[in-house]
Amino acid sequence: MTAAPLVALGHLGERGDLAAALAIGVAFGWCLERAGLGSARRMMAQFDLTDLVVFKVMFSAIVTALLGTFWLARLGVLELGLVHVPETFLLPQLAGGLIFGAGLAIAGLCPGTSCVAAVTGRVDGMVVATGFLAGVLATGVTLPALGGFFTSTALGALTLPALLRVPYGAVVLLVVGAALSGFALAPRIERRRERVPA
């Protein structure tokens, strides 16, 4: 019997939805801090290959959520069509990803982890969060000047299985396999890096 998402099916009202948002946020912030991602030094270890902590946390989360949604949908508990899938705007997201990644390497923290860094006393986290807010504001104001770029190459809520015309489960298997291979290779990448002093 389809039971979820609770809000879309009317089992939970706006207040319940917001209470869930708060609780989910607390757990999210807790996880980021526990993993040490509120520390810029630890986060940047990903990018000089001494500790692939960002990859490990991110991909074990993606694999868990991916398998969870797949099986809950398969068992008929979760109506996947009622879960909001971020829409694809190919070129702005490609360009945005490149700019974002460059900013991440300069800042040492991402928007979410900068908040955790800030609230645990890290001044650099406060500065990253402030800079991020300023960047969002400035870019938002500038968007109309970019013409139609922001809304160009719109593909809707397109998923990889729909794009590749393969079953959902096949892509789930591919992502899980790729992540597990990455986990298996991680210690070798990290160890090799230690032997060669920078």
Partner: protein, 168 residues
């Protein structure tokens, strides 16, 4: 306090718990985690406060509304609470500027501010960040989200290389 700070948790275990949190968000609210959307809402409220929200610009108008009824804003308030509580219980609350052994405080803070602003530009164009695109969209197999993951990691490695002396 740092002398008594407990070591960080296992990344795989934390990742699995984070994935379960994301799964709960999908099952309860029908949406995933996010961070930059909350910043966009705060930016919109700031512009609105000075009467400057552009009419139907497609970005700020999408983030308009009372902040405390905005799902991502409430979620990010939770992130602050959860992050603080976790650090407090582990003895990791510490006022400091995190930087590499050779980096100066000023350089670190200048890069933090500049990098934050650059990320802001990227997150607006990409319609999300590491949370809303990578974690959430990645778990839902969205094409744009995987495009974001690939391009963000590639650019981060390229830019981190010339800056590696900041951290080592």
């Amino acid at each position: 306090m740092s002398a008594r700070a407990r070591p960080y948790a296992d990344p795989y275990l934390t990742g699995v718990v984070l994935g379960l949190v994301l799964l709960v968000a999908f099952a309860v609210s029908g949406r995933g985690l996010g961070a930059s959307g909350a910043f966009a809402s705060v930016a919109t409220a700031a512009l609105d406060g000075v009467g400057l929200v552009p009419a139907d610009d497609g970005f700020f108008t999408a983030h308009a509304g009372p902040l405390l009824r905005d799902w991502l804003v409430v979620e990010m308030i939770g992130v602050l609470v959860g992050g603080f509580a976790s650090a407090a219980l582990a003895g990791r609350l510490r006022v400091a500027v995190e930087r590499g052994p050779r980096a100066g405080v000023r350089t670190r803070l200048a890069l933090a501010g500049a990098g934050g602003a650059v990320m802001g530009a990227g997150a607006v164009l990409a319609r999300g960040c590491t949370s809303g695109q990578a974690l959430t969209g990645g778990s839902l197999l969205a094409v744009g989200s995987w495009t974001f993951i690939a391009s963000a990691f590639a650019a981060a490695y390229l830019v981190a290389w010339p800056l590696r002396r900041q951290w080592t």
